[in-house]
Every structure is written in structure tokens, then in C-alpha cells.
């Protein structure tokens, strides 16, 4: 499981949270606009930036942005700052520039981005050293974190192609004859005359209908109840073996198998 992409400055990793956005968040977009135009962070032309920010959000399309609400919240903040800038401010009464908090956030975010890049580099460097068969603990997956990679159109498309079971085919599947358990008992005993044990799978192999499987199992259970055979299965869902039940044919192994109470998990 290695889905680490080999391109792009920020490795997206094979991680649970997938951000489809071209920008990681509103601060990322804002920073991009500012840095792209070589704007002085300490003197942001808030009106211009606000317009550009809104235009960018519109261009990307709100539905493309995973966290549309956060982008809109930033837009609201920008508009508020813009409004505050327009209000006449009394001179030197120590009141802060309305942009100050935003500038702080942007610089802090930019610093975090720089640290992130460096961490990523350290991570890559560390990944070049291997320990002795060290296996990273697997992340636990939460259902709600599984990204939805399908569009509604695809879901619709798939739904349109679902074939409902045809009523006629069902009608045709009415069983033509009954399978008798007696028959299966004879089958099992007959097979066990030649060999000491037989696999359940082999007994039902010639037939397709489930009823044969059911009856063979019932026959096996009945014979087991009569102590004519012993059923064994090493663990859940593994092969089911039917062993000849008479103790003379089986020495140590059978004695073990007969001792049903001591190995309950091996019994069927």
C-alpha cells in the first residue's frame, strides 16, 4: 500500500483525509494571492485583495472547495476589514490597524507552511533509513473518513444499470426433485468404506443445487449423532472433514477426536 505520489511540492500521501481543493484553505489562497503579486504583507491593499479573493473562490467554484464555508468566512472577514478601513479612524489613540490580526494570521500560517515543508523533508530523509523489519502500525480506518470518489452522476448511472432479478428466471428455479437424506447417508458411508476420511467439499462437488449441500451436511450431522462418523474442522470456515467413526480404524488421532468436550472449538 504505497500511494505516495512522486510529483508536486507537498506529498499528499496515502492518507485518510483527502483534500481535493486546489488550496488547502482560505489562508493558503490568500497567501498565494499576496505572494504571487509581491504584495507587502504589512500593507495589504485590502480592497483589491478582497475582490481577487472573491473572484478566485468563484472561479474555482464553491462546490469544488471541500470547505466552502471556511472560504466564505474568510471572505466575510475581508469585507469587514475593508469596511473598517473605510471608516475614519481617530489618529493616534493606539487603536490597531483593522488588518493587524489578519497579517498576524497570514505570517503565522506562512511560517507553518515553511515548517511543514521542512518536516516533509525530514520525513523523506527518515524514510531512507530502514530498521530491522519494522512495520508501521496500520492506521485505523473510520467509515466517515473514507473519501467519496464517485460523483452523483456515476451513482445515478450505476443505479440505472442495476438489473432486477427477472421474475421468470426465479420461477424456473423451482426444484425438480427432492434430495433425500437417506441417499446422502449412503453416499457418505459408501465413501468411508474405501477411505478413512472424506472432505465435505468432495461429497457435494457433483451437484450444483444448494439442497445437496444441505442434505449432505444433515446426513453428516445425523451420522455424527449416531457416532458412525466424526466431523472435524481445524478452524472456522476451513475444510470440513468427515472421519470414519469406528475407533478401531483410528487409534490415537480418533481417540482425540472422540474426546469432544476437551476441544470444543474443533468440533462441528
Amino acid at each position: 500500500m504505497n500511494l505516495v505520489p512522486r510529483h508536486g511540492p507537498i506529498p499528499k500521501g496515502d492518507f485518510l483525509i483527502v483534500e481535493l481543493d486546489p488550496f488547502q484553505g482560505p489562508l493558503d489562497l490568500l497567501l498565494h494571492l499576496i505572494r504571487q503579486q509581491d504584495i507587502d504583507v504589512f500593507d495589504i491593499p485590502i480592497s483589491t485583495i478582497t475582490d481577487q479573493f472573491l473572484a478566485a473562490v468563484q472561479e474555482i467554484g464553491v462546490e469544488e472547495l471541500d470547505s466552502a464555508g471556511e472560504f466564505l468566512e474568510m471572505a466575510a472577514t475581508l469585507i469587514r476589514i475593508k469596511a473598517q478601513m473605510l471608516l475614519p479612524r481617530p489618529g493616534d489613540d493606539g487603536e490597531e490597524d483593522p488588518r493587524a490580526e489578519l497579517v498576524r494570521r497570514l505570517l503565522e500560517y506562512e511560517q507553518i507552511r515553511e515548517i511543514t515543508t521542512r518536516l516533509s523533508r525530514s520525513e523523506a530523509e527518515r524514510a531512507r533509513r530502514f530498521g530491522k523489519g519494522h512495520v508501521e502500525p496500520r492506521p485505523q480506518r473510520y467509515v466517515e473518513d473514507t473519501p467519496l470518489e464517485t460523483t452523483w452522476e456515476e451513482v445515478m448511472e450505476a443505479a440505472m444499470h442495476v438489473e432486477l432479478p427477472h421474475p421468470l428466471t426465479r420461477a424456473l428455479r423451482i426444484t425438480t426433485g427432492l434430495v433425500a437424506m437417506e441417499e446422502k447417508i449412503q453416499l457418505i458411508m459408501g465413501r468411508l468404506k474405501d477411505v478413512a476420511r472424506v472432505e465435505f467439499k468432495d461429497l457435494v462437488a457433483p451437484w450444483k443445487e444448494k439442497m445437496h449441500g444441505v442434505m449432505t451436511l444433515l446426513a453428516g450431522l445425523e451420522l455424527s449423532r449416531q457416532r458412525a462418523v466424526t466431523l472435524r474442522q481445524s478452524r472456522l470456515f476451513s475444510e470440513l472433514w468427515i472421519l470414519r467413526g469406528d475407533p478401531q480404524g483410528w487409534t490415537g488421532a480418533l481417540a482425540d477426536a472422540e474426546n469432544q468436550e476437551t476441544e470444543p472449538e474443533e468440533e462441528v
Partner: protein, 193 residues
């Protein structure tokens, strides 16, 4: 047995970094200082004999790791386990937690500008961050910090190995932490609740 041999077997058998004090538990003749000495001896020995592995100090301990220049040979084998790399948002969140720990979710989200609950939980699942305390404020929010596993993942011996803010090109040198800012803005107001 020589001390360096005992230290060597312990390092060889371990698949995670071990602290000197942990290694010292292997034998009564060892203590932290002797372990350190032994490690230095082994390092010289490995260098002199051109071993392809080294004793690396990381995650507050020591671990035998291959030299990075040999990575291309190992990468050809699918069976050699490779630690999964973290996503951009995960790294970003981790960076914030690493530098500002203990820190709460709300503050992380404020710095990133986006929600962080899912990312934090994933980082917790991968044992890279953990809840270290609860804040005193309303609702007593959980505060997160980085783990030893975090140091291991990035190959840091301790948090001191993180890139220092003053070494970073972008910087707001006199940036006060958020809570101090809030206090300085309303100095006379005492939080009563």
C-alpha cells in the same frame, strides 16, 4: 561478555528506538553512562568496518538503522516495509501541534483556517499526537501534544531537533502567542467564569 556486545544484541533485536536506560536493563554491569560509551565504541567499529547500518539517535533513544545511501537497494523490494508518508494537511496540523503544544483544536483550526478534527483523529490513530492535558477554560477542551512516535517518524532525537523558528526565512519575530494577545488587548478584564 563485553558491554558493547550486550548493547549490540539489544539494539539488534529491537525494532524501535531504545533509551540508554532501557538498554542498561539488559545487564547489571550496565548503567546509562556505560551504555553511551558502548554506543560510541560500536559507532567507531561500524564506521571503521564500513557497515551499511548505523546507530541512530532518534525518538529519545537509539536504533540500528541502515545508512540512507543504501535506500535504493532496499526500495526494490516490495516486502521491505515503508512507512506511509503523511498528507499535506496532516503535516501542517502536526507542525502546528509540534510548535505550539499543548494546543487545543480550536486554536489549530484558527491557525490553519480550516477544520482539523478529522486530521487530529488520524494523527492520534497513528500515535503521532496524543491528548496531553485539558485546558482550564469553558468546556475544558482537550490539548494535544506530539508523541515519541512523532520524533521517530521524522528522525528527530528530541523536540530540540525541530527546525528553529529563528532559522526560518519567514518570520514574525515578536509575534505573541494568541492567548497573550488576547490578554494584552483587554488587560483590565479578568476572566471570571
Amino acid at each position: 561478555m563485553k558491554a558493547s556486545q550486550i548493547v549490540e544484541v539489544v539494539l539488534f533485536a529491537s525494532d524501535a528506538p531504545l533509551k540508554a536506560e532501557e538498554i542498561a536493563r539488559a545487564d547489571e554491569s550496565l548503567d546509562e553512562d556505560r551504555v553511551q560509551e558502548a554506543i560510541e565504541d560500536l559507532r567507531t567499529l561500524y564506521d571503521d568496518s564500513e557497515r551499511a547500518f548505523q546507530i541512530v539517535e532518534l525518538g529519545e533513544g537509539y536504533q540500528l538503522l541502515t545508512r540512507p545511501e543504501f535506500a535504493p537497494y532496499l526500495e526494490r523490494f516490495d516486502t521491505v516495509p515503508r512507512p506511509p508518508r503523511l498528507s499535506g494537511p496532516a503535516l501542517e496540523t502536526l507542525a502546528i501541534i509540534a510548535y505550539r503544544q499543548p494546543i487545543g483544536r480550536i486554536e489549530i483550526e484558527y491557525i490553519r483556517g480550516v477544520q482539523a478534527a478529522g486530521v487530529i483523529r488520524t494523527l492520534q490513530d497513528r500515535d503521532l499526537v496524543e491528548v496531553v492535558a485539558r485546558a482550564e477554560g469553558l468546556g475544558r477542551p482537550l490539548l494535544y501534544g506530539t508523541t515519541r512516535r512523532f520524533l521517530e517518524h521524522f528522525g528527530f532525537a528530541s523536540l530540540d531537533d525541530l527546525p528553529r523558528p529563528e532559522d526560518l526565512p519567514i518570520l514574525l519575530r515578536d509575534r505573541a502567542p494568541l492567548e497573550e494577545l488576547a490578554e494584552s488587548e483587554e488587560p483590565e478584564e479578568e476572566p471570571e467564569f
